[in-house]
Amino acid sequence: MSAVFSCREAARLASEAQDHALPMPKRMALRMHTMMCAACRAYERQIILIDTVFCLRAKHGKPDLPTSEGLDAAARERIRARLTQGP
């Protein structure tokens, strides 16, 4: 088995590594690849950055994306009326 695999495989594994512990041989092969390949190295760092930025926003009490839309008056009234009827 070659330790060098395609960028496609490396990118897939770089993402998978964020979600579960890769088995040792795959982890080593990924590290070998990213050492030699600037594009996949950038990919790995950048997806980690994006995941982290999302987590940080949630930690600041905003687990959502900004929106200009709010709950409008009609929906508010409808929900209020429904709640008054009880569960």
């Binding site: 395609s6 960028c7 496609r8 495989e9 990118a11 897939r12 993402s15 998978e16 964020q18 979600d19 579960h20 600037a38 594009a39 996949c40 950038a42 990919y43 760092r45 950048q46 997806i47 950055l49 994006i50 995941d51 982290t52 930025v53 999302f54 987590c55 940080l56 926003r57 949630a58 600041h60 687990p63 959502d64 994306l65 900004p66 929106t67 839309e69 709010g70 709950l71 929906a75 508010r76 409808r78 929900i79 209020r80 429904r82 709640l83 008054t84 009880g86 569960p87």
Partner: protein, 195 residues
Amino acid sequence: MSAMPKPRPAATNPNQWVDTHADSLFRYALTRLRRREDAEDAVQETLLAGLQAQRAFRGDSAELTWLMGILRHKIVDRIRVAARDTTVEALPAGEMDEWCGKTDRWLHPPKSWSGDPTRLSEDAEFWQQVRKCFGALPERQAQIFVLRTFDELEAEDICKQTGISATNLWVLLHRARTRLRACLEESWFTPESKP
């Protein structure tokens, strides 16, 4: 032996929930469900369920956090129902455009850029751009990515709660990350190199 029952903390009157919590719940739901009507329905269902379960609220968490937990369960339920019939084959081939034919090389190799996570997380303009890129993701990818990041669920827990297999989950997350990364590269991190 039995411990003293905890005094029930005074929860706010459910009559005020629409005023105090509905907007936060709506934003939370809109991020995950995207369609305004679906988000409104989810908020109503959540507040009704909250009303019904009010006795179960022990005040261990803030009331809004508790209601958001109920809402998250409702959203996960929807994902589970929708995912039931989906097989790997049925997943859209969202990453194909990243790869150069049979060579498995990058068609557009990621450029070299970086950012400060803390500063970005507080940058309102950046989040406006994220919202655009996020909106271009297929719905399932977007929902799963948010469960993993905003909701901070472990991959294993997402699988358990949604019934999506681990392999499919990794594929969905990989595609979401690949698309978000490419979109933000082009629109935010290296906009000057745009053709």
